[in-house]
Amino acid sequence: MSRLIVDQLHATHGQRPVLRGISLSVEPGQIAVIVGPNGCGKSTLLRSIARLHAPNQGTVKVDGADIWQLRPRHVARRLALLPQAPQAPEGMTVAALIRHGRHPYQSLFSQWSAADERAVTLAMEATGVADLAQRRLDELSGGQRQRCWLAMSLAQETPLLLLDEPTSALDLGHQVEVLDQIRLLAASGRSVVMVLHDLAAAARYADVLIAMRDGHLLAAGAPRDIVTPALVKRLYDIEATVLKAPGDGAPVVVPLEGGQLRPGAVLSQSLHVSSGNPNLYS
């Protein structure tokens, strides 16, 4: 049975349609990565799967159960979400943060069961933050902090993990650190659905790449099957070559110089240059 089945999902923001009939499925142990230009609906798709955005039509099933038919507490035992750049209260320790992931299993009279302790310990070990447990979150590096948040989601012990741009605030070294960690998690049988901005990283780490634009699914499949210059053009309106990465042979997209097709290209480039001077626009 598929871990996640999204069937003909339609959703709107107010009156504006954002998702127009999205269908996809993710198997146990798979990493699915959603890519697409800004405003294509990828975040809304993730939020709809997480039961945070009510769809107008269509269903989301996790391990066969429609998430809108389940109670919130039971959904919380099936899927975990890590939003983009989450913030913890000042002074919170790593151990206290990760413990929050146990909320769906706890109550007023069961605040720290043996199962809670085991799950938190395992989550710390899986993400390599056990040695940081006593530290304050605000004194860690960006990569360490993101691994702690990941540990919190792991402690939730859900078969499905949803991540919204887990590497957006990180430098290249920490990006690789976090993505490798996610790959290890998937190898242990969890399914991961994440949104990534970086097409190179997406193509390298995805088992299933999901390309979206304007609320439609353009393509879904193994990166080396679907990443072509034609797809890149349909996604981002740019001309690009697709190379093979040395080593694993993952597709690498290289935009061609002057390949921008949209009339707004010149404007956005000049803005990009001037934003190098922070005083000018702030």
């Binding site: 939020r47 997480a50 039961r51 945070l52 109670r71 919130p72 507490r73 039971h74 959904v75 919380a76 899927l79 975990a80 979400l81 890590l82 939003p83 989450p86 913030q87 913890a88 209260p89 000042e90 002074g91 919170m92 320790t93 790593v94 151990a95 206290a96 943060l97 990760i98 413990r99 929050h100 992931g101 909320h103 769906p104 706890q106 007023l108 009279f109 069961s110 605040q111 720290w112 069961s113 043996a114 809670d116 302790e117 938190v120 310990t121 710390m124 056990a130 447990a133 006593q134 605000d138 939730q156 949803l162």
Partner: protein
């Protein structure tokens, strides 16, 4: 397992103890517990001081005499009849304000979002002023005028802030606007009153506890008693809310219900305190902040905020009574005097980028 076994796992932060007994388990953090006890002791000390200090000073021996029932009628009268009721009222109002501030701060994830700023206090003030004017005796109106005014203010705020109510600075700006509007109404009403009403109004509007007695203590006690338990039941959810609203929801928290309940409790508590004791500023801002500093570890300190709030007002009232001999400073004025420097100190102590 027959007896609770202490566990020493790495998975818990230092200073936290997990206790298990069959299917039940408890998590005890020493520091909030100890600071809670210390605050209780400090509060007891402040109450004793408030009983002894004033135009006539007593010795601890006199206090002991009163407690054991061997005091002279004068001592009895001054300490029990005059001083004790206003101490009680100050204590209860402080606890209510501290708790209310802690709730609104946790809800909006913003340390500045307290009843004073959100217009709740001004709504309560308006309610109380209308109640006072409507009464013929020149006394304060019934206890429910404050909470009612506060509720009206928060409904206005939520309507005006609309969909943005849950997030960011927007609600603070709207709150300030509503607070200013309500204050203008209060001023307008005040300017049209005769002397009988104006005198009582002035006394009340400076946050003076002078003459406050059991008629104010009783509604506050009942309000706190009824609202504190639901607050404790919300504690787990509120803690998650401070992380991130989306995370809280995917962890199974009913966000809207939690927010609405917590806001309602905060508004009722602040409305009660302001309606009965006058607008005492800064306590709702300072108490939760001090309490969470004392409790440490980024914890939400509900009980600590209530205790700190109580301590602050009892001390402010006592200070106001003894600082200028023969000329009493209202507790609200003392809080205003201390509040400005406190806010500056808070700003300078805040580390950059952590304005929460």
């Amino acid at each position: 397992m027959n007896a609770p076994l202490p566990l020493v796992p790495r998975a818990l932060e230092a200073g936290t103890l997990g206790l298990r007994w069959g299917p039940f388990s408890l998590l005890i953090a020493w520091r909030p517990l100890l600071t809670g006890l210390l605050l209780l002791l400090a509060l007891a000390g402040a109450i004793a001081l408030a009983l002894l200090a004033g135009d006539t000073w007593f010795t601890p021996a006199d206090l002991w005499a009163v407690l054991s029932g061997r005091a002279s009628p004068d001592q009895q009268l001054l300490m029990i009849e005059f001083r004790l009721p206003r101490i009680l009222v100050g204590l209860l109002a402080g606890a209510a304000l501290g708790l209310a501030g802690c709730l609104t701060q946790a809800l909006s994830r913003n340390r500045l979002a307290v009843p004073d700023v959100l217009g709740v206090s001004d709504g309560a003030t308006l309610g109380a002023v209308v109640g006072l004017i409507a009464s013929t005796s020149g006394m304060l109106g019934p206890w429910w005028t404050g909470p009612l005014g506060a509720l009206v203010a928060i409904v206005l705020l939520l309507l005006a802030a609309g969909r943005h109510a849950g997030r960011g600075e927007q609600i603070l700006v709207v709150g300030l606007a509503i607070a200013a509007l309500l204050r203008a109404f209060v001023e307008l009403l005040l300017s049209r009153q005769d002397l009988t009403h104006a005198g009582a109004l002035y006394n009340w509007s400076t946050g003076s506890l002078s003459g406050r007695g059991l008629d104010a203590a009783l509604p506050l006690t009942i309000g706190l008693a009824c609202l504190f338990l639901p607050t404790l039941l919300l504690l787990r959810q509120l803690n998650l809310l401070r992380l991130d609203p989306d995370i809280a929801r995917t962890l199974g928290v009913n966000l809207q219900r939690t927010r609405l309940l917590a806001l309602l409790i905060a508004v009722l508590l602040a409305g009660l305190a302001v309606g009965l004791c006058g607008p005492i500023a800064f306590v709702a801002l300072a108490a939760p902040w001090l309490a969470s500093r004392l409790a440490g570890g980024g914890r939400l300190a509900l009980l600590g905020s209530a205790l700190t709030g109580a301590l602050l007002i009892v001390l402010a009232d006592t200070g106001g009574r003894i600082l200028l001999a023969g000329n009493e400073l209202p507790a609200g004025v003392v809080c205003n005097l201390l509040g400005g420097p406190f806010l500056l100190w808070l700003l300078f102590n805040e580390r950059e980028g952590e304005a929460r």
